[in-house]
């Protein structure tokens, strides 16, 4: 008996050792393997997006609600995190401005696609006019969204896309390669062109994070080839777990680790806290995506120089405006731009995506102006 399970444990270790060797060279852990499209190196280089023909889906015989009041539901990846609280607030702001839109935010308490599908399904049955979503999985969410379209319900996505044919429009906060460039350039500026860094992400199966890491790798290969990726760790969306993982990385690499990337609004403050607790403020850079409030203490301490994000309030705001324009017929397949209230005109890119704008960098100078 004893020898049997000793043998299996040994086999397990062998397997793991082999597989870790296999993944050592090649793509960074946590990246997906979709094609990448790195931007040009150097400051201010943003590629003009190629315009593609419209590739979104369309609702079947939607009732004509142009100019009339519409009821929308917003189903984010999960509720209960600052980021989606902010997008929800933006939506409420837009609804108040427009006056003829009612929007409710409702969703699962954990980022599970199965739960999210059930939420959307219930709202289809209760007959909303439009659904706004941020998908936990782009392919898995498609069947239920297509069902919504087939029942004449308008579907607009934001933050995390679905397959294009499952929604009419997708409000994209920033291009994946734009985020990747901003992150890598920020890190290079802080740790130098031959610095080593590690990545703290949520899970390897979160689509946006996986895309960003893949684009970061492509961009780094192109513009910062001497920078050295050490490893990527998963930390769910949990503060304590992220903190522990970041601490482990700091302890493991010691001086070799010059920078940490935080890929979620949970991972970044936790990494900053780990660096602070280890007394390495200023010696280990922390660059990542996060909401301002969580990062204020670290930015003020000088531990974190810049926080990359976009304005999620604006993202939610734009999503509602896009939905309203879509319902009113003011935004049609083939249009090149849409009017988004106080955000002005937003461009349509990639066929059916609406771009919010370039990534926004929060730093010591401006972070106090925001409260989310």
């Amino acid at each position: 008996m004893k020898s049997r399970y000793l043998l299996t444990t040994a086999a397990a270790f062998a397997l793991a050792a082999w597989s870790s060797g296999a993944s050592a060279a090649g793509k960074w852990d946590g990246a997906d393997d979709l094609p990448t499209n790195p931007l040009a190196c150097g400051a201010g280089a943003a590629e003009t997006p190629v315009s593609k023909p419209y590739d979104g889906g369309q609702p079947t015989n939607p009732p004509n609600k142009a100019g009339k009041e519409i009821t929308l539901v917003d189903v984010p990846k999960l509720i209960g995190i600052g980021y989606f609280n902010a997008t929800s607030k933006g939506m409420q702001d837009a609804a108040k401005e427009l006056g003829d839109v009612k929007v409710t935010t409702d969703g699962p308490t954990e980022a599970k696609i199965d739960e999210q599908i059930k939420f959307i399904d219930n709202y289809i049955t209760s007959g909303v006019d439009g659904i706004l979503f941020a998908a936990n999985d782009p392919v898995a969410i498609a069947p239920v969204l297509k069902k919504a379209l087939s029942k004449g319900i308008h579907v607009v996505g934001y933050d995390a896309n679905s397959t294009p044919d499952a929604r009419e429009w997708f409000v994209n906060q920033a291009e994946f390669n734009g985020i990747a460039k901003a992150m890598m350039d920020s890190m290079a500026k802080e740790i130098g062109e031959d610095g080593s860094f590690a990545i703290v992400t949520s899970t390897f199966t979160t689509p946006n994070q996986a895309r960003w890491i893949a684009e970061m790798q492509a961009y780094a290969a192109k513009c910062h080839p001497k920078m050295h990726w050490l490893e990527t760790v998963e930390a769910q969306e949990d503060n304590n777990l992220s903190f522990n993982q970041a601490t482990t990385l700091i302890n493991k690499y010691g001086d070799k680790l010059k920078g940490l990337f935080g890929m979620t609004s949970v991972a970044t403050p936790a990494s900053a806290e780990a660096v602070t607790k280890a007394g390495l403020c200023g010696k280990v850079a922390v660059v990542g995506l996060a909401t301002p409030n969580a990062m204020k203490p670290y930015v003020h301490d000088g531990c974190v120089k810049s926080v990359v994000l976009w304005n999620p309030i604006d993202l939610g705001y734009a999503a509602v405006y896009v939905m309203r324009a879509d319902v009113d017929g003011k935004l049609k397949p083939g249009d090149a731009s849409v009017d988004a209230g106080k955000l002005g005109k937003l461009n349509v890119i990639n066929g059916s995506e609406i771009l919010l704008g370039p990534p926004f960098i929060y730093d010591k100078g401006n972070i106090d102006k925001f409260d989310f």
């Binding site: 409710t104 409702d106 696609i113 219930n122 709202y123």
Partner: protein, 323 residues
């Protein structure tokens, strides 16, 4: 335990003269109430759709009833769902199996996973709770390791028939579930196998001394639990058209809630498939009805938790009074 003497009486269902009837009444009352609040609730369309959505949990709840009747538990079912989903996609894409073979392979993996649970529980005598907590972690980890966090998508059209299609207006997977509910219910009520399960749950030592093959029965129910999880994985992948290593996360608690709500005692020795079916329907319809009435997700969770405690409380105190 005094239950041993009463076990023969409880096995032959005297036409649901107990917990199940009570539950069915509560279910009907809840249906009527929710239907009154919201006109879209009691439509055929909605009810059939709910049937479609509850199939994965329902399939797993059937052998879970068996498992709990024997006094055991299986917390690894959700992880087995994830593992089988991954294996389905992985063997199709990476091994190059033709899709039907891939499906069979994933069913085999599920059965094997359940079999391993049963083997260690019966041979090494690790208590089921402990064993399945450990395999919960192991199987989920295997799903992640094998898949390397990749999803497999792009299945041929016929594959989606199970999860998204309908036969004569009834969702395909719901038909499968109904058939299996009947099969499981008959197996439990009317076969020697079923009686063996009750005997094991009531008094395992006595069952052994009665020359019942306790170990084999346990092995069978845990294997069935793994198989049902694999079947649920197949339905799920067909329904959402992709595989993810985190599929099935949290299923174990939903399944146990349905089984326990249905009147199966967690201590073993009593319970029926019909009760489980009602418990399953009740939870699904309650969630749906609340959502349609405009109650948001977080409040719905609170109501479900309270409803679970209350129904078990009501049903068991009334039963005690009847006894």
């Amino acid at each position: 335990m005094t239950v041993a003497a009463q076990a023969p009486a409880r096995k032959a269902p005297r036409w649901l003269a107990r917990h199940e009837t009570l539950l069915a009444v509560i279910l009907l009352v809840a249906l009527a109430g929710l239907g009154a609040f919201n006109e879209r609730f009691l439509t055929i369309d909605n009810l059939l759709n709910q049937g479609r959505l509850m199939t994965e949990i329902g399939l797993i709840a059937l052998p879970m009833t068996f498992v709990i009747i024997t006094g055991g538990i299986d917390l690894s079912v959700g992880a087995i769902v994830g593992l089988c989903a991954i294996m389905l996609g992985y063997s199709w894409k990476t091994f190059g199996f033709p899709l039907p073979l891939a499906i069979v392979f994933s069913l085999f993996v599920g059965g094997l996973a359940g079999f391993v649970n049963g083997l260690v529980i019966t041979r090494v005598k690790v208590p089921p709770l402990i064993m399945t907590i450990a395999t919960l972690a192991l199987y989920r980890g295997l799903a992640e390791g094998v898949s390397q966090a990749h999803s497999v998508r792009g299945y041929p059209e016929w594959f989606y028939f199970l999860g998204q299609g309908s036969v004569l207006g009834v969702p395909t997977q719901l038909l499968v579930l109904v058939v299996l509910v009947v099969v499981a219910g008959v197996a439990l009520d009317r076969t020697t196998f079923g009686r063996t399960l009750y005997a094991i749950g009531s008094n395992e030592t006595a069952a052994r001394f009665s020359a019942l093959n306790v170990d084999r029965a346990k092995l069978i129910v845990y294997t069935l639990s793994g198989l049902a999880s694999a079947l649920a994985a197949w339905v799920l992948v067909s329904r959402v058209t992709t595989t993810r290593m985190d599929m099935g996360q949290g299923y174990e608690l939903d399944v146990i809630a349905a089984v326990v709500l249905g009147g199966t005692s967690i201590f073993g020795g009593s319970g029926t498939i019909w009760g489980t079916a009602i418990g399953l329907a009740m939870i699904q319809l309650l969630k749906n009805g609340l959502a349609l009435t405009g109650v948001k997700g977080d409040a719905t969770i609170v109501v479900i938790g309270a409803a679970l405690i209350l129904s078990v409380l009501v049903a068991s105190s009334l039963q005690r009074r009847r006894d």
